[in-house]
C-alpha cells in the first residue's frame, strides 16, 4: 500500500465522500423526477376520481385509492392499541426481565421478517383458516402485524424520552400509575407516538407483496371491509407487470410518490415541533 501524506489522504477521502453522497442524492432526484416527469401529466381530477376501466387501461384510480385508504386505516386502527400498549408495558410497567427480553426479541425479529412471509402467513391464516377471504380485513390484519414493530419501537422511544421528573411530580401529587401515564406521560409522548403512526401509515401505503396475497386484486368498488380491493401499490404493480398501460402506471406511481412525500413531510413537521417544544 502506498503511504499517503495525511493531508493528501484527507483531501482525497473528503473528495470521495462528497462525491458519493452527492451521487446518491442525484440518483434519488433522478428516480423521482423520472417518474414524476411522465406521471404528473397523467394526473388530473378525472384520474383521481374515476373508476378504472378495462383493467386500468382506461379510467382513473379511484378504486385503488379507496383500497389503499381503507386497508391502511384498518391496519393502523388494529395495530394502534397493540403497538402503543406494548410500548407502554415495556416502558412503564415492567423492569428488565426474561419476559421483556422475549418481547423485545420478538419485536426485533418481526421487524426483520420480509413482507412476503407476512403475505404467506396472512394468506394461510386470515384468508383461508379464518375464512375472511381476500378482503380489506385480511389485508388490514396482515399489515397490522407487519407495522407492529415500527409502532412499538417509535412509541417506546417517545415514552422513554419523557423526563422522569414528570412522572415523579405526578406521583408526588398522589397520582396513581394510570393517572400518571394518562395525564403526565401521554401528553408529552403523543407527538412521538403520532410520528410512529405516520411511519406505519407510510409502510402500509408502500407495501405490495403482503397485500397482494391477502387483500387481493379486485378492481370492483369494495362495499365493505369483507370485500377484496387492490391498493395503489398493487394496482401499479399489476399495470406494469401485466403491461396494461405504462401511461397509467406512471400516473399511479406519481400519485404514490406524492402521497409518500406528503406523509414524510407531515412526519417531519411533527418531529420538528416535537424537538422545538422539548427543552
Amino acid at each position: 500500500m502506498i503511504k499517503l501524506n495525511p493531508h493528501t489522504a484527507e483531501k482525497l477521502a473528503k473528495g470521495v465522500i462528497w462525491t458519493v453522497a452527492l451521487m446518491v442524492i442525484a440518483v434519488l432526484i433522478f428516480i423521482i423526477v423520472f417518474i414524476l416527469y411522465r406521471g404528473l401529466s397523467v394526473i388530473n381530477w378525472e384520474f383521481l376520481t374515476r373508476i378504472p376501466r378495462r383493467s386500468g387501461r382506461e379510467g382513473g384510480i379511484l378504486t385503488p385509492i379507496i383500497g389503499t385508504l381503507s386497508v391502511t386505516l384498518l391496519a393502523i386502527l388494529i395495530a394502534m392499541p397493540f403497538g402503543i400498549g406494548t410500548a407502554f408495558y415495556l416502558a412503564e410497567y415492567t423492569k428488565d426481565g426474561i419476559l421483556t427480553r422475549i418481547i423485545r426479541f420478538c419485536t426485533e425479529s418481526l421487524a426483520g421478517i420480509p413482507s412476503i412471509i407476512y403475505g404467506l402467513f396472512g394468506f394461510i391464516f386470515f384468508v383461508q383458516i379464518l375464512d375472511l377471504k381476500w378482503s380489506i380485513l385480511s389485508g388490514g390484519l396482515t399489515l397490522a402485524i407487519m407495522v407492529l414493530p415500527t409502532l412499538i419501537r417509535t412509541s417506546e422511544e417517545a415514552i422513554r424520552a419523557v423526563p422522569k421528573t414528570y412522572r415523579e411530580v405526578s406521583f408526588s401529587l398522589g397520582g396513581t400509575k394510570w393517572q400518571t401515564i394518562r395525564k403526565a406521560v401521554v401528553p408529552s409522548a403523543i407527538r412521538g407516538i403520532v410520528n410512529g403512526l405516520i411511519l406505519s401509515v407510510g409502510r402500509c401505503v408502500a407495501e405490495t407483496a403482503a397485500v397482494i396475497l391477502t387483500a387481493g386484486v379486485s378492481l370492483s368498488m369494495p362495499k365493505s371491509v369483507l370485500d377484496s380491493s387492490r391498493t395503489m401499490a398493487v394496482h401499479f404493480y399489476q399495470l406494469v407487470i401485466e403491461g396494461i398501460s405504462m401511461t397509467n402506471a406512471y400516473g399511479t406511481a406519481a400519485v404514490l410518490i406524492i402521497l409518500v412525500f406528503f406523509i414524510n413531510v407531515v412526519a417531519n413537521m411533527l418531529i420538528n415541533r416535537f424537538v422545538a417544544k422539548g427543552r
Binding site: 403523543i190 365493505s224 377484496s228 406494469v240 398501460s245
Partner: protein, 295 residues
C-alpha cells in the same frame, strides 16, 4: 392534542360507518344475492373477465362481481376452498382435478402467439423449431434464418395455464430449459419481448395485437400459418387452448347469472371484440343467455 383526538374519533367513525354500511348492503341484497360473487384464477383470463364485469355492472348495477388473479391452479383451489364461487382456468383440468368432480364450462378459445421483437427478421417457425429453441437445442437466431444473435427465451412460471398449454401443445415430453427467463403474466412477457431484440415468448393471441400506449410485438407464423382467429377455427394454426370457468357444482343464484351473461351473445361479442375466439358450445343447462327470471 385535541386535534389528534379528533382525527382518531373521525377514523373510528369512518370505520363504523363502513362496517354498518356493509351490514346494510348485505341486508339490502337479501336472499338471492347476499354477497359479491368472486371470480378468481388465471391471469390470462382475468383481464377479459374484468372487461366482462364492467359491462355486466352497467347492465345489472345491483349484482356485484369481484375478480381476482392468482393463476389457474389458484383459481381451482380457491373454488375448492370456497374462497371463490367461480374459478378461471386457461388450461384443461388435470386428472387429479377431474376426479374431484368439478363443474366446468368453456367460455372462449384463445390462441397462443409466438412473439418476437418487431425488428427480428424471422417471420415463420416450425413447431419443431419452437420446441428446439425452448429446450435450448437452438440458441442462435441464425439457425432459424435470423441474424447472428443469441436467443433469449422467455417462459411463464410453473402453474400458469399458458405455460402448461405451451408445454402440452409444443414441448410434449421435452422440458423448457431452466435457463429461460420467467415472467408471471402475458403482459410482462409482451413487455420484455417488445424491448429485447433477441427475445422470444408466447402470449395470449389477443394481446399480440398492437395495443395503445405499448410497444408492439411481432407474432410469428407457425408452420406457415398466421395466428388469426380464422386459422384457429379452421384448425390450421394449432396453438390454442380453452378458457374455462370452474365451479364446485353447477353454479346457482348470482354466480349462475354472471356465467349466463358471459355465455350470452352479448358476452361472447365482448370477448370476440377483445381478440378471443367464441366458445364452441354454450353448455349451461337450463337455457342460454340471461333470462329475466334469473335476475
Amino acid at each position: 392534542m385535541k386535534h389528534y383526538i379528533q382525527v382518531g374519533l373521525l377514523s373510528v367513525l369512518l370505520l363504523s360507518v363502513n362496517l354498518l354500511s356493509s351490514c346494510m348492503a348485505g341486508k339490502a341484497h337479501g336472499g338471492l344475492n347476499p354477497t359479491t360473487v368472486i371470480v378468481a384464477g388465471s391471469t390470462s383470463v382475468q383481464p377479459y373477465v374484468e372487461i366482462l364485469v364492467e359491462e355486466y355492472r352497467l347492465l345489472y348495477p345491483d349484482n356485484a362481481v369481484g375478480v381476482q388473479g392468482g393463476g389457474s391452479s389458484a383459481g381451482i383451489r380457491a373454488v375448492l376452498n370456497e374462497i371463490a364461487e367461480i374459478g378461471m382456468s386457461s388450461r384443461a383440468l388435470n386428472q387429479e382435478e377431474k376426479e374431484l368432480g368439478l363443474w366446468s364450462v368453456e367460455i372462449a378459445l384463445d390462441g397462443l402467439a409466438i412473439v418476437v421483437h418487431p425488428d427480428n427478421k424471422v417471420e415463420n417457425l416450425t413447431m419443431e423449431q419452437v420446441r428446439d429453441i425452448y429446450s435450448r437445442k437452438i440458441t442462435n437466431w441464425s439457425e432459424v434464418n435470423g441474424e447472428d444473435r443469441k436467443i433469449h427465451i422467455i417462459s411463464r412460471e410453473e402453474g400458469s395455464g399458458t405455460r402448461s398449454a405451451f408445454q402440452d401443445l409444443v414441448m410434449g415430453d421435452e422440458m423448457i430449459a431452466p435457463r429461460a427467463i420467467v415472467q408471471n403474466s402475458n403482459g410482462a412477457v409482451r413487455q420484455l419481448v417488445s424491448s429485447d431484440r433477441n427475445a422470444i415468448g408466447f402470449i395470449s393471441l389477443g394481446l399480440a395485437e398492437p395495443q395503445p400506449g405499448l410497444q408492439p410485438v411481432k407474432a410469428l407464423n407457425l408452420d406457415g400459418f398466421s395466428p388469426t382467429q380464422e386459422n384457429v377455427l379452421s384448425g390450421e394454426y394449432e396453438l390454442y387452448r380453452a378458457f374455462l370457468f370452474i365451479s364446485e357444482d353447477e353454479p346457482t343464484g348470482a354466480a349462475r347469472h354472471f356465467v349466463s351473461f358471459v355465455l350470452s351473445e352479448e358476452g361472447q361479442r365482448i370477448l370476440s371484440g377483445e381478440g378471443l375466439i367464441p366458445a364452441r358450445e354454450m353448455a349451461l343447462t337450463g337455457g342460454e343467455g340471461v333470462s329475466d327470471e334469473e335476475v
